[in-house]
Symmetry: C2
Subunit: 244 residues, 2 copies
């Protein structure tokens, strides 16, 4: 009997922030797989299941374990934070799927950090934007630099995932330096930390101030375009509607 | 008594695709406001409510009507398809909010078309990407052109909203022309039509083929980066994980 693997976006973390479809799929699944932290976020609500939790940096093993379980005929849900298609596991699962031809795969989208962080900050992504990860674990730094400069020069709003970590403490500062080559220091920016989880906070600040901020892997960074404004403590990018 | 206005992303359209939080807020609200088509998508599930549906191109009136209802002390939910912060009403509501200082505003994120369409196509947005609308109703065509060229040259995956309409029948073809200046004609692309609604379909094709396709405002277009592949009919962008 063929099994099925769902790759499920759970959104920022709390049970309420996943879609009704995602919650139903998790309830129906026999096995819940994923990175330990995300599995723990939802373990309580799911009751009696088989859990396959794997630590960070074991992505290939995690995907193979989930595919192998599904190949046994089980319904497996692999959880990802945010959306599984944005820096998530959907891609790797589909790349490895050829080795498990009997497994049906379905990707179930979720609310990504750009949308969650954006909502708490205001409306920074109302106009064209670029999403860039500053992690150079899997991407050469020259590629990241080229993309940051190009997006800044073309006046995209920038949404930055993985802005820094302990080993990459100065990466956000470097990125701000590249952006400052084409954007004013007063450009309106935003930080969204731990959004949808404990210790959630947002901050609206200038690009010049952002360059001096320390961040971590639970922070999403927003850099406004030339039109973005700070309105009553919120970060708002206009679309261009006229009103009086 | 001060009212509250929620600006709620309902995702692609079917009730199941909104978050549990969004569904709760709609159930609790006294008034449901929004563009007629989106209000009709969820009217059935909501029963006895006051509905404030407004046709297209009346965005300012729509937002003011919702803010005015909330100013009367009501709990109002304004629905947007996808995420309200991505080409949605969250920005305009916050821009107009200064005229209704007694109204509390909360933005409730949803699953945007980039994520829904991406999930049905496979995993096109696994690496850095740019989201661009080809609608020049509110944005000069030179700005759009500059952004499309910049994103293509920096090897971003592109996700295109509003690729064309009756009045703008050749816009996608023009955009493909700009992209072909720096990308191969064989670049893997995807089309996601009416995803999450009746008549849903997806297609994986080359950039050269895409340039000849007719699309409409219910289609989201994906243009892969130099690494994106077609795998078993799906569009997959690798993140860079190594495996055997």
């Amino acid at each position: 009997m063929a099994g099925k693997l769902y790759v499920v976006g759970i959104g920022p973390g709390s049970y309420e922030d996943m879609t009704i479809r995602a919650a139903k799929i998790l309830q129906e699944s026999q096995v819940i797989a994923g990175y330990t932290v995300y599995v723990d976020l939802i373990r309580e609500q799911l009751g009696d299941k088989e859990f396959l939790a794997t630590p960070m940096k074991q992505e290939v093993d995690r995907c193979r374990a989930a595919l192998a379980k599904a190949a046994e005929g089980k319904q497996v849900a692999m959880v990802c934070s945010g959306d599984p298609g944005i820096y998530g596991m959907a891609g790797l699962v589909l790349e490895l799927a050829g080795d498990y031809p009997q497994v049906e795969i379905e990707i179930v989208p979720g609310v990504t950090a750009a949308c969650t962080g954006g909502a708490y900050l205001g409306a920074p992504l109302i106009h064209d934007f670029a999403v860039i990860s500053l992690s150079d674990l899997l991407t050469p730094m020259e590629t990241i630099e080229k993309r940051v400069r190009a997006a800044a020069a073309a006046d995209f709003v920038l949404c930055i995932y993985n802005p820094s970590s302990k080993k990459r403490a100065d990466y956000l500062k470097r990125a701000c330096g590249w952006i400052l080559e084409s954007r004013r220091p007063e450009t309106v920016c935003g930080l969204a930390r731990n959004v949808g989880r404990e210790g959630q906070s947002v901050e609206v600040l200038t690009l010049k101030e952002l360059a001096e901020r320390e961040t971590d892997m639970f922070t999403t960074v927003f850099i406004g375009n030339s039109q973005t404004r700070a309105l009553e403590g919120r970060m708002v990018t206009p679309r261009g509607y006229r009103y009086e």
